[in-house]
Symmetry: C2
Subunit: 410 residues, 2 copies
């Protein structure tokens, strides 16, 4: 396929990102596909770095996901290897052997345990990752010059149209700690935990158990609240690494000083990264925020919001800049959650278009039409039943999505 | 929107259908939209006709659906009124008043109870059905010449590109009974019971309780096993009417002579009608049959098959004639049902492409490519876990779907 142009929803440029003490980035050409670009990222993490992660719930996960799932309970990390262009998923023993070979080679280079090495890969499914290319790529990376965040963010991309990264900060006692995250993902994005690949690095000192609890908490309202096409990847992985180089008193529980600030910074980071994925949704021309209120519970609100966000008819209506709120009613009705038609209210932008189970008599269509012509769309649904609420984010469904996916592998 | 061309998956022509004694069809112009076509269908049923139905499970059903739900327990019918171009859904009291007015006027004309009159409407959501147009249309229909099945099948259409009907027969004792069905539906099709509107007529004598049990049984493996876009309509309705004019000894239980033959004919009828809806799926260029075997249960197989059938990435791959079985793995993995990657086998047409959790070494891609170039696609998935099996039917996802739905209301 021809690489589509930079998403119209992409931010102006790449953000200014600080270095994170204890993190060294390198990239190399493993040439997993017939392309002349860096496609292997090798991140070294200084001793003492703690790790946490959330992984796809797919019943057919990649061997990389299984490797990370086995390594996470130890809570420590010395390296991260990311391959682009081949997901190595559904490749049986050969795929598992490739992951083991990568971890072993990186561990030998760093003098650490293979279980200290985290591995992630995305790209085509069903083709075993070639071990010879991976090892040659790693060897090249070991001796490469250290690079910056933008090179790393570019090297993990597949069908992405722009590099995605964010920075947040928090104060712990007398130290300011920084979080830098990079993410990739554009299609096969659905909320069964995550985008495809996200990596977060901080110089804060955080005990691994707390880091895991904080990442899991941050995930639910961020990566688990986005969808591009309802299709959950076999490789979804979000990992967080804390080097401790900021010199703050290590925090180990939510009661420790600074823990709230760290949780806020981590959640903000995850939200920024999740939004960047939606903004690079395959074929996307509109960024859509859907807020459901008045549900019987937050979980119920979340499921109804996703039913709307995953509806092809809602997504195509937005693509057509058509305030077709009847399709929103349909999506609420099919969600299978408690709802009463005659208590339902729907809003596009700031304009109430339906309330009490029917259209608002002669509502002003002008502001609605103007809102839908924009790139940032807001849909609000109130069920009038309880206090449950949730917000999810998605993009519209356009000819671009069909073009990208009807000839992806070819 | 401009009416799209006849679906490439449409059958050659319209079938030869027998008259059903006790059923009289009439059509008229209510002009629910700015079009010059018949859009109101009035079916009279002779006294003694029994009725059964299955209705959408949407939490936001149309008042027509609520009306039918209330009338069905009585099990008898004297008339059916079908409106095209306006679903009357989400219109509050005005919508309910329109349905009551239609039933009252038809009942007065026939000298029956309003509850003997079934009403169904499809089209745009949120616009109250204009009572004056409905009553004028009814009055015109009362005095119109009786028409044939094709006229009725055409009059219930909205975005459909061809008239859909089928015939089946069964022998009860010394009588042969006939079933004739008509159906409409093309978008907003998802398996939460049914297509949008389906009507089945038979001259058999069947007690209403048994007719309902038989229709519900037939529905599960037919209308509930199709999906075009995963979007469940607010108006889904399938009704069956038995006039008893064939003179067979009325059947009242599954143990009665001929009951098995009638169930088979009714199920065959529902399957034929369901397939016709998929063949008119918005933008469809391929008819896809997905069979899942080796699941832990039939229900589990059904959910996994629908996860594949509703996957935009699977549907776009088929549109691109790409044997991208990795996307099938993804869809199995995301279904949330018991599955073991390393026991999974996948087949396109007759060719096994993956087994035991990895690609079949050097499988012959030629027959797969040839199969995908056809209009009838078969995907087989074996989970290797148990005896559960299910088959569902869908169509591919093409630019046509986007074009139709990005400017439907406009």
């Amino acid at each position: 396929m021809t690489q589509p142009a930079r998403s119209p929803l992409a931010p102006e440029g790449f953000p200014d990102l600080p270095a994170i003490a204890g993190v060294t980035l390198r990239v190399a050409r493993a040439r997993y596909k017939a392309w002349d670009r860096c496609d292997l990222t090798f991140v070294t993490l200084d001793p003492g770095t703690t790790a946490a992660g959330v992984l796809t719930r797919s019943k057919c996960p990649s061997p990389e996901v299984e490797w990370c799932r086995a390594a996470l309970p130890l809570g420590i990390a010395r390296a991260l290897v990311v391959n682009a262009g081949n997901s190595n998923a559904f490749t049986g023993n050969r795929g598992r052997a490739a992951v083991e070979a990568i971890a072993a080679r990186a561990a030998a280079h760093l003098g650490c345990q293979p279980s200290d090495v985290f591995v992630a890969s995305t790209g085509v499914i069903g083709v075993p990752l070639p071990i010879d290319k991976a090892e040659a790529g790693l060897d090249a990376a070991f001796t490469a010059q250290a690079c910056g965040w933008k090179d790393a963010a570019a090297t993990i991309m597949t069908t992405d149209t722009f590099e995605k990264a964010a920075v947040t900060r928090a104060v712990i006692g007398d130290r300011t700690v920084s979080f830098v995250g990079i993410v990739k993902g554009s299609g096969m994005i659905a909320p069964d935990m995550a985008t495809m690949l996200g990596f977060i690095f901080t110089d804060a000192a955080i005990e691994p158990g707390l880091l895991q609890a904080m990442l899991s908490a941050a995930n639910r309202a961020t990566f688990s609240a986005i969808t591009v096409d309802s299709d959950t990847s076999t490789s979804d992985t979000v990992l967080a690494f804390a080097t401790g180089k900021a010199g703050n008193a290590p925090i180990a529980s939510f009661d420790d000083a600074g823990a709230d600030a760290v949780q806020a910074a981590l959640t903000d980071m995850c939200r920024q990264l999740a939004h960047l994925v939606v903004r690079d949704g395959e074929g996307a021309s509109k960024f859509i925020e859907i807020t459901v209120t008045g549900a019987e519970s937050d979980d119920s609100a979340h499921r109804i919001a996703l039913s709307i966000a995953n509806s092809p008819l809602v997504k195509t209506a937005i693509a057509g800049e058509d305030a077709n709120w009847g399709r929103v009613v349909m999506a609420v009705g099919k969600a299978g959650e408690p709802a009463e038609r005659d208590k339902l209210s729907i809003r596009f932008g700031a304009t109430q278009v339906a309330t009490g189970g029917l259209a608002v008599e002669g509502y002003d269509e002008a502001p609605v039409a103007a809102h839908l012509k924009g790139k940032e769309i807001e849909i609000g649904v109130d069920l009038g039943l309880g206090d449950g609420r949730a917000t999810v984010w998605t993009c519209d469904l356009t000819h671009g999505y069909i073009s990208i996916n009807a000839d992806y592998r070819s």
